[in-house]
Symmetry: C2
Subunit: 199 residues, 2 copies
C-alpha cells in the first residue's frame, strides 16, 4: 500500500521515460496532480496520438506521421543530390540547428551491431541502396558517430556507395571549436591529428 | 519546421514535467517512439485517468481517486488518535518508508505563504480543525519542513491545537544518523544543539 491505484499507476508508468527513477517519477506525478492537470491531459493525448500514428518517412526513415517528413517533402530539399547519413533523428536536429547543410538525410535509427541483431536490414540499407541506384545522388556524407560501431557502419555504407560509383565522405572529427586541447579526450585528439589539413 | 506536428507536439508536451528541458524532452520522445510504444501508450492512459479522476482524500487531503485514501480507509489507522501533519504526499511516503509511525496523516499540500496567496484555507486548516474538535485526536505531530515557511505553518497549527487542548509536538531536526558533522549545514547544526537531550 503506497497511494491509491491510479496514483501508484501514474508513478509506475512514468518510469518508462529515460532517466526517470522512482523519486523523480513521484515528483513528476505530484507536480502534475497539484498544479499541471491541463498540461498533463495535453501530454496524455499527445502521447496517445504519437504512439499510435507516428511511423517512418518512406524516403529517409525519420519519425513522421506523414508519408514524407517535412524535409523530404520540401521541393527545395526533397530531391537534393546530397544525402547525409545519420544514426538518429536527434542528429538531424543537431545538424539542422547549425543551418549549414541544405541537402536531405537518411536516418539509420541505429548502427550496425551484430551482437544485438542489428544488421543492414534493421538500418534500412536496401532503401538507401534504392536512392543510390536512382541516379539522383552525387555525394553521400557519412555523419555516424565516431564510435567503433559508427565507424563500422560508415565503412559498410561507403562500400555500398562505391559500388554505385557515388562520391562518399565522412564528416571531420577533432577538437571542437572553442574547446581547450587539454580537456579533449585522447581519441578525439588522435582523430584531429589524422584529419589535419594544410594551411 | 523541426519534425512533423505529432512529434513536435509530443516533445513540447513532455516539457510540462519538472526538470525536463528541450534536450531531455527530445530524448524521451525518441526513446518512446523507437522502442517503448507499449509503455508510452500505458503512460498516456495512466496520465489521462489520473488527471481526470484523482482528487483528494476527504479526511487527510492526500491524492486519491476514492473518498478516503488507503491509510484513512484502514480500520487500524483511519481513526488513530495520532495525526502527523506534513506538507506533501511525498512526505507521507518518506515517513511510511521508515515504518515507525502507525497513526494517520494530514497533508497540507503546501505551507503558509501569504505572498503567493496561500493561507489557512488553501491548506485545508478548517478540515484539520474539525478533526481537532471531534474529540478523537490526542496528539498532533508537526512534520512540516524546517524552513521559514514550514516553521511558520507549524506555529500556526500548534496554536490551533492548543485552543482545542490537544497535545502538539514537532519532529526533531538535527544531524542525520550516519551523517558526518563537518558536512552538516550550520542551520541544521544549530537545530541539533537547541534540541539536545540529556543522556
Ligand atoms: Zn524524410
Ligand atoms: Zn487520507
Amino acid at each position: 500500500m503506497k497511494f491509491s491505484p491510479l496514483v501508484d499507476d501514474l508513478i509506475q508508468s512514468l518510469r518508462c521515460l529515460p532517466g526517470v527513477g522512482p523519486k523523480s517519477a513521484q515528483r513528476m506525478a505530484f507536480q502534475l496532480l497539484e498544479r499541471e492537470r491541463k498540461a498533463g491531459q495535453k501530454l496524455a493525448s499527445a502521447l496517445a496520438s504519437a504512439m499510435s500514428d507516428v511511423g517512418h518517412c518512406t524516403a529517409c526513415r525519420t519519425f513522421t506521421e506523414e508519408t514524407h517528413c517535412p524535409i523530404c517533402a520540401s521541393s527545395r530539399r526533397g530531391h537534393s543530390d546530397l544525402i547525409c547519413v545519420v544514426e538518429t533523428p536527434a542528429d538531424v536536429l543537431a545538424i539542422e540547428a547549425g543551418g549549414h547543410f541544405s541537402g536531405r538525410y537518411f536516418v539509420l535509427l541505429g548502427h550496425l551491431s551484430p551482437l544485438d541483431g542489428v544488421g543492414p536490414d534493421e538500418l534500412g540499407l536496401s532503401l538507401l541502396a534504392q536512392h543510390l541506384a536512382g541516379g539522383e545522388v552525387s555525394e553521400l556524407i557519412l555523419a555516424t558517430n565516431p564510435t567503433v560501431e559508427g565507424d563500422a557502419t560508415a565503412h559498410y555504407i561507403a562500400d555500398m556507395a562505391k559500388k554505385h560509383n557515388i562520391k562518399v565522405s565522412r564528416i571531420a572529427h577533432g577538437v571542437p571549436v572553442g574547446g581547450e586541447l587539454e580537456y579533449v579526450d585522447s581519441t578525439t585528439l588522435a582523430l584531429s591529428f589524422n584529419g589535419r589539413l594544410p594551411i
